[in-house]
Subunit: 310 residues, 2 copies
DNA sequence: CCTCGTCTGTGCATCCGCGCACAGACTATG
DNA sequence: CATAGTCTGTGCGCGGATGCACAGACGAGG
């Protein structure tokens, strides 16, 4: 068995160092400049770029006499490398702060957080004067690390044994449109009629969280969204303004008030679930428990709001 | 000059490879397991973990006879490494898709996107039947790479010469509360009265986008938010529900309709700006231009909505 | 108790990636 | 035209990181 060489790539996945080199070359535009910043030789940088291109099977740079310039595919990769760089920068920044005083960090999906929980969180703050709540509203695109927050609410239980997960509730989704939109179009009688319509939905490429690809479940998957937005709030706004149809949780539509009509009421029946997860380490922290209880109790008190008929 | 060694760390920043090794050890819990997955020897993995700890000056793992377990500081680092891992995974996933047919990717801040532009985007889609719009609603926490989208709307012009930026408009912000909240509390006559109140705002740690730290500008910086949320929509919901006070763009408050009263109307006068940036490469793409025009025209047509008095 | 399988930790010889040095090409400045 | 300062690309010799082998410790299972 021979040793692993640069050109073999790694056994599993790629070498993050090469991405780091790539990022620096893309930033500075030259091998030499990147080499200076990395504390390495330009020859080394060139070799690692070549290795990365080889392992991806793609040309990332246009070799030019005066430097390197990104190809189209390189530009796409740079967006990702940028994101990694941003994370890496946090290592040094956050290294000192050990955080935590009276703060609890909670992360929830947009629908549950903004349209259900936000108006109901007052009691918790009133009853606990020392408590500061840091609340991340996450969109489907950022499958945020569960370690980033003390408590997370997501669509599926946390994998791995380091977390305790419990189901909060199931909830129903339905297809909605605005009266103005429905008046302008012929009546919709069955799923087949849907194909002629304009839809909004999540951005397909970015759907990490499994279970948010609603439209695929409709009309045999023949529907796709021409207006794709990462935010539920934007989708709601577009539907209410009468631009298009879209799938919404029933409780979100109710919270939004007037201006929404369920299309094909009974036929389109989607159900998803909210799960609450808390890290094993924090499970017995009283503050964290307090917040968990509030979430649980609020869902309980809401009765059948989540499973209501549209 | 001697060569750079593992123990020296890098000249600038840390070695991403070491983070990759760290991530794998944290995941598997053993050096040997990580080594197998990485296609390396357990001795190598152990040395690199030691090097990372040395360069950070922190102990990341508890050495145990049966494996490695994370320390408290290691757990914090893992959250970051997880995020990097997630990005790295996209490299291989996205490597194939070269995207782009008739799609344009747009990213906007939540206020501008969800509360202004979303209801006004219908004409663009109607006039361009082939166009698919991928629309990222970004929150303040994710200072998303501008390369991630074809067009971005942010609070400041893009730095660097690779982008063309233009100012869309200034906009005004004011302090709002719900009638129910204001009725329950003594009248607010000047900024000093604000100190007794409960506020919502962005998560302080995560404010990357400069210019979203509204509360710091009020009452001499003596105010801080006990309810911190990364999403404007959630803050709006909390304010409307009468839980607290908060700063909102005036046009957002107007779009939200009833249930909001401006506090200290004239005195609290905050102004920010929206900038639209487009990559140099895409500037002459007709589809991209079409979307840019729509944004420009919509803002223009809105008249003084953005600078309206509360 | 013994054996097997797993884990970490540590010398040691080896080899591969590294920095170095130099060549060739282009630009800017005078 | 000449010179100085960039840049990339390519051999070459070297040394440090790597894989290997082995020791020691622990748990499971017969």
């Amino acid at each position: 068995m021979h040793r692993r060489g640069v050109w073999d790539g790694m056994a599993h996945g790629l070498d993050w160092s090469n991405l780091q080199y790539f990022h620096e070359v893309a930033r500075t535009g030259t091998l030499s400049g990147a080499a200076r910043r990395l504390g390495a030789d330009h020859a080394t940088v060139g070799r690692r770029i070549a290795a990365l291109e080889h392992s991806l099977g793609r040309k990332l740079f246009e070799r030019h006499q005066r430097g390197y310039s990104l190809t189209r595919q390189g530009r796409r990769l740079l967006a990702i490398a940028d994101a990694m760089e941003r994370e890496a920068a946090r290592v040094e920044a956050h290294a000192g702060s050990d955080a935590v005083g009276g703060t609890v960090r909670l992360s929830t999906l947009e629908g549950f957080g903004n349209f259900f929980m936000a108006p109901r969180i007052g009691g918790l703050l009133a009853a606990n004067p020392g408590l500061v709540l840091e609340w991340l509203t996450i969109q489907q695109l950022v499958a945020l690390s569960r370690r980033e927050a003390d408590i997370t609410v997501t669509l599926s239980p946390a994998s791995g044994a380091r977390f305790r997960s419990e189901k909060l509730t199931d909830y129903r989704l339905a297809l909605y449109g605005a009266p103005a939109y429905l008046d302008r179009h012929p009546p919709i009688r069955d799923e087949a009629d849907l194909r002629a319509h304009l839809f909004t939905g999540y951005i397909e490429d970015l759907v990490f969280t499994r279970g948010l690809d609603y439209l695929g479940d409709l009309a045999g998957g023949a529907i796709s969204a021409r207006l794709q937005n990462s935010s539920l709030g934007a989708q709601l706004a577009a539907i209410r303004a009468g631009l298009c149809l879209g799938v919404l949780p029933v409780f979100v539509a109710q919270a939004a008030g007037e201006g929404l009509v369920a299309v094909l009421g009974g036929e389109v029946a989607l159900v998803r679930s909210y799960w609450m997860s808390v890290s094993e380490d924090d499970a017995d922290n009283p503050r964290v428990q307090r917040v968990c209880e509030t979430l649980r109790d609020s869902v309980m008190a809401a009765g059948d709001l989540f499973m209501a008929e549209p």
